[in-house]
């Protein structure tokens, strides 16, 4: 049997697929962070918690109310977005005039609350979520076995990324949004309701995170800590890519997912730290980030 640098192809491609999945989550989450930061000037530490809540809403929906996967894929983001509207209206809004760091601290507190509440009711061992029956099984591609659900996750996440890119770069709403990022005062003077736009942006970003959470539920264990693990890595991804460009976020997210997977195959000890090490190198060579503009 042939091998690639001493590793069976089945194993290599399996890990690469997993890397692509992780990479699409990095992409979706860093995209949401960047969109929120662009509009609200706040780094949303609760992004990981919103991803975790998305997964839990799907799991609770299925086990308690019998809501199936496809409905959860729509309902969980909506629910989290509604919750985020409240957070933005009642709390974040009061902080826009202050230093940006207060937004980070507030959302950090919210993340602690969410993590603590779910940990109290569901422990840390994790709950498993069955793959929906339409996507069970897989196809044999000859060089590897491709589980249908995993292919769907990558496809769905990338489509969402593309949709976000399209909405921001190619629609009228996106143009307004970009204008408000640059000069909110002028946009407001033109009669556009900028505060409403900010609320919707925060809700949409949080909804994206919840959508990723539902996608993730059948792949990994649904666990109260899943969000905080992910958000720290996503912060490193954001530092590496810079928050200046949407396509940059997507490319950086996917690329880092793949690099992480390759590390897992060839040097598993370093797979947990490789993204942080890349961050260190990028900071030394190109401090503004790969796609960032020098501040």
């Amino acid at each position: 049997m042939s091998t690639i640098f001493g590793v069976a192809p089945q194993m290599l491609f399996g890990q690469l697929l997993l890397g692509l999945i992780n990479g699409s989550f990095y992409a979706v989450l860093s995209l949401g962070l960047a969109v929120i930061f662009g509009m609200l000037n706040i780094i949303n530490f609760a992004h990981g918690a919103q991803y975790m809540i998305g997964a839990f809403v799907a799991w609770i929906g299925l086990t308690v109310f019998g809501v199936n996967y496809w409905a959860a894929l729509v309902l969980a983001p909506l629910l989290v977005a509604l919750l985020s509207v409240l957070i933005e209206r009642l709390m974040l809004r009061r902080l826009y005039q202050l230093d940006h760091l207060y937004g980070l601290l507030l959302t950090f507190g919210l993340a602690l609350i969410a993590e603590g509440v779910f940990r109290n009711y569901y422990g840390v061992s994790g709950e498993s979520y069955d793959v929906p029956e339409q996507l069970q099984g897989g196809v044999n591609l000859g060089f590897m076995f491709l589980p249908l659900y995993r292919a769907w996750v990558v496809l769905a996440a990338l489509s969402v990324c593309f949709a976000v890119w399209f909405a921001i770069e190619r629609t009228r709403l996106g143009a307004t949004l970009r204008a408000s990022t640059q000069r909110p005062d002028l946009v407001q003077a033109l009669g556009i309701n900028v505060p409403l736009l900010m609320t919707l942006t925060y809700a949409a970003g949080a909804g994206l995170a919840a959508f990723a959470g539902v996608l993730a539920a059948p792949v990994i264990q649904v666990n109260p800590l899943m969000g905080s693990h992910l958000i720290i890595v996503v912060f490193a991804v954001v530092v590496i890519g810079g928050m200046g460009s949407i396509l940059g976020s997507i490319v950086t997210g996917l690329g880092l997912g793949l690099i992480e997977a390759l590390t897992k195959v060839y040097y598993p000890e370093a797979s947990g730290v490789v993204i942080f090490l890349i961050m260190v190198i990028v900071l030394m060579v190109r401090p503004a980030g790969l796609f960032g503009r020098q501040a």
Partner: protein
């Protein structure tokens, strides 16, 4: 970033005298082990405040230095059999060296990126501490000997241990206080208030930031190393991002950019945790998150800051 100036510039001798008296008497009134924990976290939070309160840099990874100091001290005392003073010194210095590396990287970006970079770097250290062969993995380093200080004073005596911790805290606190009052501290505050202006005046801003970062990391390492000797334990909890968040909360609750605030915050949070631990169990995280939210929304000056505002307000009315 967000606080008032140095405050009244009078002599600080009365404050130190009061601190020393309270510190000397306290172990006869309150359980010394609890006090030692408070003092370690008070030093940790004061070191953190030097950075956030006076330079305006939010490090979200300060647990890395605290935990690293604890691990180094534990390793030196337990595996190498060195006396406690050597362990504490090694933990402090190596945490400072780690701070120099992190600082050099993190000050390349500012504001929100600085916070994200320090958090990610701290996670890197955390992973290494989970995996490395000499850190004891999930168990941490247990049974670190307290030993004899300078070969003379038996630290297994809780009161002797307490007075050592008190001396370390007072020394660290004094150093931070002196730093803030010095011309160097004035420049740090200038950077916080208006960085471009400080650059245009000819100050090498990055060098000042780095020096403040290293000093803060060194003192955080001192606090961690001391805690390792007191509790005879260096654990992953010390290096976890929750601990980084906790020290932010202590500083915020006590009063950002005030001299005594971080210590008041450390006392409040540590006290709250020990009272709540038996009653509400794991809801503690939720309560801490709640305090965070309340502090940011309506209590940004913190306890000491509010008290000072109250006092100043009364004086201006009279």
């Amino acid at each position: 970033m967000m606080s008032q100036g140095a405050g009244a510039r009078g002599s600080s001798a009365p404050m130190f005298a009061a601190l020393i008296v309270v510190g000397l008497v306290a172990p006869f009134l309150v359980y010394p082990t609890f006090l030692m924990k408070v003092l370690c976290f008070a030093l940790f939070a004061s070191a953190f405040n030097l950075l956030l309160g006076y330079v305006g840099l939010l490090s979200f990874g300060h647990a890395a230095f605290f935990g690293f100091g604890a691990y180094v001290c534990g390793y030196v005392c337990k595996s190498l059999g060195a006396p406690p003073e050597a362990g504490i010194l090694a933990g402090t210095l190596l945490a400072g060296a780690l701070g120099a590396m992190f600082g050099a990287l993190a000050i390349r970006r500012s504001g929100i990126y600085f916070a994200m970079i320090t958090l990610a770097l701290a996670q890197l250290v955390y992973f290494i501490e989970v995996e490395a062969p000499f850190t004891g993995g999930e168990d941490g380093l247990q049974g670190i000997p307290r030993g004899h200080l300078f070969g003379l004073i038996d630290l297994s005596n809780n009161l002797a241990m307490y007075y050592l911790v008190l001396a370390i805290f007072l020394a660290g606190f004094w150093l931070i206080h002196r730093t803030i009052q010095s011309p160097f501290g004035q420049i740090l505050k200038a950077i916080r208030e208006n960085e471009p202006r400080a650059i245009s005046l000819g100050y090498a801003v990055d060098r000042y930031k780095l020096l403040a970062f290293v000093l803060s990391a060194t003192l955080a390492g001192l606090a961690g190393a001391t805690k390792a000797i007191v509790f005879q334990l260096a654990s992953l909890t010390d290096a976890h991002w929750h601990t980084s968040g906790e020290v932010v909360l202590m500083t915020l609750l006590g009063g950002l950019g005030t001299v005594l605030g971080p210590s008041v915050g450390a006392l409040t949070i540590t006290g709250l945790e020990s009272v709540l631990a038996d009653k509400v169990g794991s809801w503690v995280t939720v309560i801490m998150g709640g305090i965070f939210v309340v502090c940011v929304l309506v209590f940004r000056r913190g306890i000491v800051g509010e008290l000072r505002a109250l006092r100043l307000g009364r004086r201006s009315q009279a």
